[in-house]
Amino acid sequence: MSKIAIKLSKIGKKYQVAHTRNGSFWALKNVSLEINKGDRVGLIGPNGAGKTTLLRIIAGITQPTIGIVQTFGRAVALMDLEAGFHPDLTGEENVFLNGMLVGMNKKEIKQKFKQIVEFADIGLFINAPFYTYSSGMKFRLAFAVAIASECDVMILDEIFLAGDFEFQLKTLEAIKNLQKKREITTVVCSHAPAFIFNLADIFWGINKGIVASKKKRDLLKEIDQKHKIWTTAFKVDYRSIIK
């Protein structure tokens, strides 16, 4: 019997469009789902479908308007590059702040500090204020802290592409490693097929706030079709150029 890691029962989330009087919408409608411990879930859907709202609810960052959320264990979210960092603090100081926000205590962070800095590999910038960082560096630091946090549930929203090619491979390996060794539960959301298919084997499609299970075969078909449109749109036959 597998244990439940995340349980959503009839979740709905209504948003008022920020700072307007009339303009509310349901970002999520009647979502019920169960994710077991160690599950690898991929979330797919267009912009504005409700992916980020769903992930934020799972992470406990926001509350649903109706319904019940239950998350068992420590959940860590990597959704927004600036989240959990103070722009004026240095990388080192931010490791402590961010580490605490993801649930580590001071002793834990001290023990893992070297490992975090090594993984982020941002050189002298670890002592520079965070606002001087490029997106890539921000991602490196955020990811290094998240990986060190020994979480039970990891929530990843489309931010992988901020890293360079080498770092993207490094993050992919690191997450797969945690999935295999510590059996952490992952909920991944990405438009990049390489990440979705490497990190997930259960797929949920989401559109206009409605979540439905998806078969891997159907998903691949969809992606194949989009890929065709994409390649014809760019019309770059790079193989012939290389030759």
Binding site: Q16, G73, A83, G84, H86, M100, V102, N105
Partner: protein
């Protein structure tokens, strides 16, 4: 998810440390500003009221300094905590942490500054007044009162500012006015009758009166004033925690 108490302690201390180190980052005089500020204030206000208004209070500069230090703690704390939830939105979008710590860490940083300035004030008081040990207990009591009242009010206004951004402007515009209707430049006793009802609604009146009484700067104190102010403070304290706790789950959606 429930976390051990140790984690919350660490968290509050870390936030306070970061807030402290951020305040004087890239400055030359750093922590010295905490002393320079009230001294300059004391000199300018003191000279104006001594030379032009000709107030008749012994050791007027010390009298003034002892009133200015708690007032500055209160007013600076409110200034800084009112917009704090909006200012720290980048922390709220990371995880669900105890959001009370955002205003409380500011209060703790200001408390540290307050205690340093109060220490200096105490030296000046010891040299010029005859202190009584028993009365010093009132100082201790009023310090706790000051922190509790400022903390409660900060929680209240910081939570409400997320919903009504005007509160930030209201606080910033009313604090300088409130300064003059608080017995800082004068005592409650010598203030005109028209101000008296206002003192009863303003706990800072009772707090500053009690500090001065405790330090033997003044020899009388109105017990009704202290009683009414204390009651109002308790109400604001409870209301602050209550309102903050009830609004905090929705902060993220209102930023």
């Amino acid at each position: 998810m429930k976390m051990p108490l140790r984690y919350y302690q660490d968290f509050l201390i870390t936030l306070t440390q970061k807030e402290f180190s951020l305040r004087y980052r890239y400055t030359w005089l750093g922590f010295f500003w905490t002393i320079i500020n009230p001294v300059l204030q004391m000199l300018s206000l003191g000279l104006v009221f001594k030379l032009f208004a000709r107030v008749d209070i012994d050791h007027y500069f010390i009298f003034l300094f002892v009133g200015l230090v708690p007032w500055n703690f209160f007013s600076q704390s409110l200034h800084q905590t009112t917009p704090i939830i909006i200012a720290k939105r980048h922390l709220l979008t990371k995880s669900n942490f105890p959001k009370e710590f955002l205003p409380l860490s500011i209060i703790l940083v200001n408390l540290l500054h307050f205690l340093v300035a109060m220490g200096i004030a105490l030296v000046a008081v010891v040299m010029n007044y005859q202190l009584s040990w028993l009365k010093l207990l009132f100082v201790l009591l009023s310090l706790m009162w000051l922190v509790g009242f400022t903390g409660g009010l900060s929680l209240l206004v910081s939570a409400m500012t997320v919903y009504f951004r005007d509160i930030n402007f209201i606080v910033k515009n009313f604090l300088p006015l409130l300064f003059y209707v608080t017995p800082i430049l004068y005592t409650q006793e010598i203030a005109p009758a028209i101000l008296q009802p206002l003192f009863y609604l303003n706990p800072m009146a009772g707090i500053i009166e009690l500090i001065r009484f405790g330090l033997s700067i003044t020899s009388t104190i109105s017990l009704t004033l202290v009683g009414v102010n204390l009651l109002i403070s308790c109400l604001i304290f409870v209301l602050g925690w209550y309102v903050f706790a009830h609004l905090k789950p929705y902060f993220v959606d209102k930023l």
